[in-house]
């Protein structure tokens, strides 16, 4: 009886494994294989490296890779430089209004990708509000277009991830480790650099990868604020959706190069985190202390300055939403016209945003639970394959996944473009 029950249960899970594998085969393996095929096989069936030759033959394209790497590395380093100290102050000391601070940080990380770029252009661009204000009192801010602008926007958008990750790691540090360090003569900045940072290293490495991948894959920001500074995702976009009709092979080739780069970064990160692996469990978590004097002022000023800076785009967007408009121009005065317009003219867009989001979330939760169960509790070859496959989208830029899907399913019977399933 028991045995019969057990084998029946097994069968159900075997079926789930098969279904998930089939799903991955259709929506992941097939599109990626197709992407590869388009990249290296000509329409008449000839194997070719022409796409790669074309890419690496043009300095314009090669520079987009170095540009992307530069801006992603810089954004990662800057996010760490902002986020890690902020997390340290937040967990170690009693900051003024710390609950509000945390809410604001989380809100910063949730804004739509290009809102930051748009708002910063309006604030600090050529005709920007701050630019005019500051030049009025004789201060000339440099251009925020190009590399600097992308770096600014990406950093302010991505440091909250570092903050949240690092806070988690700090909560996991036992207070007695810090006490032991202080007791043996190492405190303050030296303790932060040689004890706290190494203890958070596994998390910092994980957060770095996440930030890097986001920065590398982001194309809205460089598109808006990058101007002449072309990054890789912009090239992918141009290559595939160029008005000239686009070149399928070239678009696919660029995508494959993108995958190779991100996979390489992932492997480096994996190797690196393997060298910093250890377990910790906190018996007594760190208690927040009240800092005094200049130190207290400094950490409060730093924390609030960073958060307010990052929150500026949201403030601006909220502010401008109440401004009076005439056609596409802002005019003097305030009104709720924009909201009226949004609710009357975007009737479909707003519910659609929620519908897509909620549906995707539901599918994700169910799939994630099933996959987690299969991987942990029913370890076999099929489920190990599922485990690996589920990690693949993590290292592939979103636009590449989009292109692969469009390449595979833009013909009947699987018509995706222009449907809800489109990216």
């Amino acid at each position: 009886m028991m045995k019969a029950l057990h084998s029946q249960k097994n069968d159900v899970w075997r079926l789930v494994s098969i279904l998930i594998l089939a799903l991955y085969a259709v929506i992941l393996v097939y599109p990626l294989a197709r992407l590869l095929k388009v990249a290296v096989v000509t329409p008449d069936g000839q194997f070719t490296f022409d796409g790669f030759k074309a890419f690496f033959g043009q300095r314009y394209y090669v520079r987009s890779i170095t540009n992307s790497l530069k801006v992603s590395v810089a954004a990662t380093v800057a996010s760490l430089a902002l986020g890690v100290p902020l997390a340290y102050f937040y967990q170690m000391y009693e900051l003024k209004g710390k609950s509000l601070l945390q809410v604001l940080i989380i809100l910063c990380s949730m804004s739509a990708p290009f809102i930051g770029a748009y708002a910063w252009i309006v604030l600090m661009g050529r005709g920007g509000i701050f630019t005019k204000l500051l030049s009025g009192i004789g201060i000339q801010v440099g251009s925020i277009y190009g590399f600097k602008g992308i770096l600014l926007v990406l950093t302010l958008q991505l440091f909250p991830l570092v903050f949240l990750y690092t806070c988690g790691a700090l909560k996991n540090i036992d207070n007695s480790l810090l006490e032991a360090s202080i007791n043996m003569g190492r405190s303050g900045t030296k303790m932060f650099l040689t004890v706290v940072i190494p203890l958070c290293m596994p998390t910092i490495i994980a957060a770095s990868l996440l930030v890097f991948m986001r920065a590398f894959a982001d194309f809205g920001t460089p598109l808006l604020i990058g101007e002449g500074y072309k990054t890789f995702p912009v090239i992918i976009y141009d290559a595939y959706f160029a008005e000239t009709g686009g070149n399928r092979m070239f678009g696919a080739t660029v995508s494959i190069i993108g995958i190779i780069i991100t996979a390489g970064i992932f492997l480096i990160q994996n190797w690196f985190s393997g060298r910093h692996r250890f377990t910790m469990n906190a018996l007594h978590t760190i208690e927040r202390k009240q800092a005094h004097g200049i130190k207290n002022v400094a950490i409060n000023v730093y924390s609030w300055f960073v958060v307010c800076l990052a929150f500026m785009p949201q403030v601006y967007v909220i502010y401008s939403s109440f401004q009076k408009t005439s056609g596409k121009l802002f005019v003097q005065g305030y009104s709720l016209d924009s909201y009226r317009f949004a609710f009357t003219h975007l009737k479909k867009a707003i519910p659609n945003t929620f519908k897509i989001g909620i549906t995707a979330l539901s599918i994700m939760v169910v799939l994630a639970i099933l996959i987690a169960y299969l991987v942990v509790r029913r370890s076999n070859i099929a489920n190990k394959v599922i485990d690996t496959l589920s990690m693949v989208p993590y290292i592939i830029p979103g636009s590449v996944v989009g292109i692969a899907l469009v390449l595979s399913f833009s013909r009947r019977p699987f018509l995706l473009t222009g449907t809800v399933a489109s990216w």
Partner: protein
């Protein structure tokens, strides 16, 4: 260089909550001193005040003649061993031990030599390049001890260092700790709630309850002549029997259940007056007399054979229960329900006043008494 520690009228408060109301204490140079008490009695709080991790709301702390109240924890030159060892998980054994030395601008050779010396002392040289997570609990404890001692501290503080180990390792490690402390001769303050552990390692013990020290003394003094009822029942096991003190012809008698009276010549002269008392009779201070001899009548409820000793659970004729420990005999164990006659080792038992605040028996040594005049 070891120091003596002097604490006068220490006060610890968290907000309106007073943890330690007024505590004074002297720890001698080179002494192994233990703070013993139930959880929440303030022993760890006091240790952390000495270490500088807790603020001091009142009183004075001295290392020799130096007042340390406002001294930076870093400058107190204290070696500390934590309950969960607090070994740095990202550093090898060797680097953990060298951690404190590296903060002292010592030449490289000296750091290496000191590290070797203490790795050798705690016998973990063969694990020097290992990461902590690949060590057993006992080995981690040895690393923590070596790391604390390597900086040649003036004082060694240990906060329940053995509570995370299993019973057998605990006994082994306490011997290691005691031996190493003897060898180095460093002033040591040790915190534990385990009275057996405290007796095994300590030169002197302070028994604490609710932020106050109840008694300070050598293990023998605490066990045999506890200053009050709390100490009597916290250290070792004891039977508490409510009783009455009677005086006849200048001799003090205690009344035992069944109207059995025994003369007690250990009662202090000034306490020899009729009064209600509480007797503290440890299980080994009662003995079974061959039947029909004169004694306290009792009935055996249960017997547990534990090899060296046999424990008997008994009740008196008035229903009060007690426990007896007898060396195991070669003949049979006394059966349940058997009526027995008990004798009392009168020189060993203790008699407390009705509140349990004072021991009425002569020979109580409580090093705490020197402070009562000063208060």
């Amino acid at each position: 260089m070891s120091v003596d520690i002097r604490i006068r009228n220490a006060v610890k408060r968290y907000g309106d909550n007073t943890i330690i109301p007024d505590l004074s204490l002297d720890i001698k140079e080179g002494e192994f001193f233990t703070l013993l008490g139930p959880s929440g009695c303030g022993k760890t709080t006091l240790l952390r005040m000495i270490a500088g991790f807790n603020t001091i709301e009142g009183g004075d702390f001295f290392f020799n003649d130096v007042r340390i109240n406002d001294m930076d924890p870093v400058k107190r030159n204290i070696g500390m061993v934590f309950q969960n060892y607090a070994i740095f998980p990202h550093l090898t054994v060797e680097k953990n031990v060298a951690f404190g030395l590296k903060n002292r601008n010592l030449p490289k050779e000296e750091i290496a030599a000191k590290t070797d010396q203490f790795l050798h002392l705690v016998k973990i040289e063969e694990y020097r390049t290992r990461m902590p997570e690949r060590l057993s609990g006992g080995q981690q404890q040895r690393v923590a001890l070596a790391r604390a001692l390597a900086i040649t501290p003036d004082v060694l503080l240990m906060d329940e260092p053995l509570s995370n180990l299993d019973a057998k390792l605990r006994v082994e490690m306490r011997t290691v700790i005691k031996e190493i402390q003897n060898e180095i001769g460093i002033t040591t303050v040790y915190v534990t709630h385990d009275q057996e552990e405290a007796m095994a390692v300590s030169d002197r013990i302070a028994v604490m309850n609710e932020g106050d020290i109840q008694q300070i003394g050598i293990p023998k003094a605490l066990y045999q002549r506890p200053a009050n009822l709390f100490v009597a029942s916290f250290i070792g096991r004891t039977n508490l029997i409510t009783s009455h003190l009677e005086i006849a012809d200048g001799t003090a008698y205690i009344c035992l259940p069944g109207a059995y009276k025994i003369p007690l010549d250990t009662i202090k002269k000034e306490e020899r007056k009729p009064q209600d008392v509480i007797l503290s009779i440890r299980p080994e201070e009662l003995y079974v007399r061959p039947f029909a001899e004169e004694g306290v009548a009792a009935y055996v409820d249960d017997a547990i054979f534990l090899g060296l000793n046999t424990h008997y659970f008994i009740h008196f004729e008035n229903g009060e229960k007690a426990e007896i420990i007898q060396e195991s005999q070669i003949d049979s164990i006394i059966e349940k329900g058997t009526k027995i006659s008990l004798g009392v080792k009168t020189d060993k038992i203790n008699v407390f006043d009705a509140e349990g605040k004072r021991n009425l028996v002569e020979g109580v040594v409580n090093d705490l008494d020197v402070y009562s005049g000063a208060q």
